[in-house]
Symmetry: C2
Subunit: 165 residues, 2 copies
């Protein structure tokens, strides 16, 4: 059952300041310009999207060609090993990226957003509205991160709070 | 730029009680058994996933063959028209489904979850942990839903609260 092939296509291009390295997660007040250029044929599909504060951006992680491993050591996690699917590693069997960003404005077929954690030129696969209650789970947890010695430090990273240590 | 083809493959199969019709969104206490059978070659990638209360399930919406329209009328929305990307309609240029579900238990390569809003046999593309703060946006909104006359009724649907009207 692991062999069935599924074909998607790029519906636009994501533009970020990141040419050589990109952050591990979206940073809401990252410096620089972040925009998603949707192919003109899909522009009408953006109608009323601007009403939402947050959106899901789904994209093809197309710049990584390294081997996919089933066990990974996430950055900042002090060397702890976890299963790939218990991580947000970009090296996955299907390199589908998922980022939640703040929507700033839409001008024709261009969506301006808060910081995206992808390389400039990343192919867009889909955009979905992030809907209160449906997507914002108040009782979510940190999973295995809660068991780590440096839990509080990691949570600063997850929250995107700048810190010096 | 809308022509670049991207190939993914199924990494497992989702099992639900839904053979002929499926709900429009995950219902947390839906009746019946919901499980995700991950291909054995990927089983090691599930290590420590069970620590998370919620997970993202990403799948191929493979049972819909109707035409994709850029403007849609979401169910329950009283006939209002919105752009496709401002909706969670399953009829999208790239039929990638995204559901957040509660993780109940993992036994070998099988993940048991709360209610999933997909047909039985749906191909799995990816699983990601849903991480507090990173994914749970406390200031998310309802977008265009807030402008509707029957807003309160719609929000009951979004929250999955049973109601008689």
């Amino acid at each position: 059952m692991a062999e069935k092939k599924i074909e998607f296509r790029s519906i636009g291009i994501i533009h970020t300041p990141y040419k050589e390295s990109a952050p591990n997660q979206p940073i809401e007040d990252a410096e620089g310009s972040f925009s998603i250029v949707v192919a003109p044929v899909f522009q009408e599909g953006l109608y009323l999207l601007e009403k939402f504060r947050y959106i899901y951006v789904i994209y093809h992680i197309d710049r990584l060609a390294r081997r996919v491993n089933m066990v990974v050591k996430p950055p900042w996690a002090g060397g702890v090993q976890v299963g790939l699917f218990a991580s947000r590693s970009p090296l996955r069997p299907n390199p589908i990226g998922l980022s939640i960003v703040r929507l700033k404005k839409i001008e024709e077929n261009v969506i301006y957003t808060s910081g995206l954690d992808v390389f400039d030129g990343t192919p867009l696969l889909d955009i979905k509205p992030y809907i209160k209650d449906l997507d914002s789970k108040m009782d979510a947890d940190y999973g295995w991160i809660e068991d780590l010695d440096n839990r509080d430090h990691l949570i600063l990273h997850i929250k995107g709070i700048p810190h010096e240590y």
